[in-house]
Symmetry: C2
Subunit: 591 residues, 2 copies
Amino acid sequence: MPIYTAPVADMQFILHEVLKVTSTGIPGYDELEPDFTAAVLEEAGKLARDVLAPLNRVGDAQGCRLENGVVRTPEGFAEAFHQLKEGGWTALDCDPAYGGQGLPYLMQTAVGEIFVSANMAFNMYQGLTHGAYSAIHAHGSEEQKRIYLPKMVTCDWTGTMNLTEPHAGTDLGMMRTKAEPQDDGSYRITGQKIFISAGDHDMAENIIHLVLAKAPGGGEGTKGVSLFIVPKVLVNEDGSLGEHNAVSVGKIEEKMGIHGNATCVMNYDGAKGFLLGELHKGMRAMFTMMNEARLGVGLQGYAVAEAAYQNALAYAKDRLQGRSLSGQGTTDGPADPLIVHPDIRRNLMEQKSFIEGARALTFWGAQMIDRAAKLDDAKAEGLISLLTPVIKGFQTDKGFECTVAAQQVFGGHGYIEEWGMSQFARDARIAMIYEGANGIQALDLVGRKLAADGGKHALAFFHLIRHFLLENAENERLRGFTGPLKQASKDVQKAAMFFADKGLKNPDEALAGSYDFMTMMGHLCLGYMWAEMAKAAMEALDAGRGDRDMLEAKIATGRFYMARQLPATALHLARIESGAEPVMGLPAEAF
Amino acid sequence: MPIYTAPVADMQFILHEVLKVTSTGIPGYDELEPDFTAAVLEEAGKLARDVLAPLNRVGDAQGCRLENGVVRTPEGFAEAFHQLKEGGWTALDCDPAYGGQGLPYLMQTAVGEIFVSANMAFNMYQGLTHGAYSAIHAHGSEEQKRIYLPKMVTCDWTGTMNLTEPHAGTDLGMMRTKAEPQDDGSYRITGQKIFISAGDHDMAENIIHLVLAKAPGGGEGTKGVSLFIVPKVLVNEDGSLGEHNAVSVGKIEEKMGIHGNATCVMNYDGAKGFLLGELHKGMRAMFTMMNEARLGVGLQGYAVAEAAYQNALAYAKDRLQGRSLSGQGTTDGPADPLIVHPDIRRNLMEQKSFIEGARALTFWGAQMIDRAAKLDDAKAEGLISLLTPVIKGFQTDKGFECTVAAQQVFGGHGYIEEWGMSQFARDARIAMIYEGANGIQALDLVGRKLAADGGKHALAFFHLIRHFLLENAENERLRGFTGPLKQASKDVQKAAMFFADKGLKNPDEALAGSYDFMTMMGHLCLGYMWAEMAKAAMEALDAGRGDRDMLEAKIATGRFYMARQLPATALHLARIESGAEPVMGLPAEAF
């Protein structure tokens, strides 16, 4: 049975030594004293370790079942969901006006990581609810907010996102689901949606579906799309539950992983829906959910990797196979633990250095969101908008790779379901696909975000790194960090220049390199985070703050990333600079 | 339902334009005229397409069941196995003295690829039998050969390899299974073996287990190990089947993939076994099987990727999503097929260029084996011994990556089991683990093969490439191939020099870079194959031989590999040259 312990010490290091949250001046951050954040994270860690993690294998093995039109979740899920609600964990960063606790998004992110690591499929029920909550909070009428938000904050009612149709995945403009206006101001929604996570289940009184559909007069493509609130059970004037809406589950998909979450085909057969936000401007409202969801998926990337890593590490320390060739053996028995072997160590360091870097980037990104929301900081908003596709795409790619690497440490046992390592890889795989497949993230980055607002946000990002390099130019101890960071930053800027130069004449010159660009941006972000973390660790060591071993481990882990991972930017640059010809040279019909 | 068509044209190109098999002078190769090889491959392709491929999903969904001590294979497997035997496909390269057809190993390899692509789990039943056949053929007594081989050539009896025990995976020296000599010259075998592929099933009259065990007086570690023939059913003097041996199936493992193959826990409770080869020299006999098995697993790496690629390609041509941004759209409808999008094209080219390169390398390797066996060519034997860990490790890593990439083309549908793309990834995953996890392959390459016989084989390999470069130095048309090949070859040799220089003083300096070295060697091998293939394609075009479109596609695909993939050697070199410190700097106890 896989184990999981919340990495509270590492989170505390990021919050207090790297981000120095209480001195940022962001409203609400002054409450985030170390004792307080530690208490919250420890408490979340207990629930994760004792309740959620033990259900992870159960959810995988049992999956969800459709019984007489209702989805049954795996044994124990309903009770665990009850505990999650009772503990107030669903409401951390929600608006106090609707029963939320009003904590910063940063805290929601840290706690979210813990829950995702423990049980990704389970956590999606509340994760999607939070996304729907945000969309209604941002775009709903006062009445809609009053009706839906208090119930969604507590997860008495959960939420879903309904975008995809069988023939329209990424290309939402081809959507066929239609919305017909009714005399009472509501709409009649008819169509089929697929891949609806948490589409139905037995853990909430009601499910609030947010459904994209085409209402008359909206024109072609995504322009004509509007967003509707379609409750599973209609809500009466007084807030009580009324009749069942014309919403049904067509089937549950059999998937590679996240079996504990019901991925449903949803049929809307003239269901009653209520316009959310403006007519024909549904994409805008949907993006509120989608941007949040993309960051949430980027978090899943490294959070599942963290769980897999903890188990690989435990196995590497425990399993005796082979003798250390350099005499570093630690046992008198016939064999040393796996961890003495350099290639196992390389494998573990790749996982550890990615996970800790991604955690820092994700927390930093959450802080940008808090900055944007609470200080109306346009620069922070621009930065997180630029980096959302990187956090989603890069972190899920590398996170999945880490789960595969963790599985590899187990040898043959990694392939046996009973050990739980296969599940981490199977679960992590979806994060590269949903909320916009990673190729779409790369397209979003290169085709839209990089040049958005005259390239202002990209320049701000490069400036951030240049500023760090200048500030630390004389710091000899940081040389192993600033040197590689400078080189990587140059590589990425050269790639961006290549796109600017060639992409205007022929978009394929940029698009053929988009995936490489996303990946090198990810490395640069993590390289920057590692430089910041190394600096913070050195300062804490100098000041005699914190756990010496942990701080030294932090620096050693960062050195690995800078020496072994960050140089990948040169390869991605070389690929990008080879241009579109190698990629597009073979005509489609010649494949 | 996934499709599969044998890539006969590409195989024919490699056999006849690249390897020019009929003019090699290898005994038996003179029969391999294009018409003959095409007929064999087409016929294998029919069986694969019509019988084996349709059972692939069935095998995955049903898996194997243990019923009253006997393993039941999925519906249709027994009938398909019957057809495989009837067609004589199990005996292609076996010794005619025992009923085999005596074809070159090269042909066995090409046909093997087709069967693995169609149904990897199914093909393992005969694949393991072939390995056991080879071990008995090489090390058995005349009597053993007479008793077992004719039945194994036809797969009336199948075979297995029994190495692993619960506490002894890679580290066979810790094995506990014991062999006690009996008065009649046989041994009494007692112990438990795990991860035994095709350990039991209902498709053969008998199963011949080859079991590693410790007989008295053998000393410590792997030195004390001997190999035994342990039939499931004992064979009478006259060749008829006698009583059931004390061999039983403990359980079937639930695995991530290859569900159609029964992975068994095997219990030997004082079973009757017969020494195969010399006492206490079982590892040597086992390596006959294992080397063959490693090449077979390397083949699985790209063969499963081929099947996944064919489906991804078909989907990319069929699925309409989004508009080409560079105006290369091919439809009048609301969207273009996925294949017009540069990032989808990049993805497909990565798969295609790997698969075709790996096929060439695998066929080339098979030719080395034929050379070694039939011409007693020590250089060929040295080369294939050097490259076996590369073919196994690199091809299974990249093959798995390709299945993941192919799955990605399908977006959300790739995650749904019904579409079959998840199965390719789940099946391909095991190839990185079994027959020596890929980290062990890297260790074998760097710790043993690279310096074996004074580094002679490595030098021979580098010489091969230098020879090609010299011979084609003036060939302007090949410039896009020879340039990158030269650079990659330099990178690899620099890495080997680094190991030679630093590794003697501290083995960790070499071992920390072993995985990177295996990967860069793989790239170099494929780069070399692509250069050879491009040259062959140009010559065929000049001579007006073959299909023009196919030959031009070959050159375009090669250009992609040289421009986008081969430069990875520089990154691996940089990692290797960063030395052991970043990898080993964090003490084991500080993790």
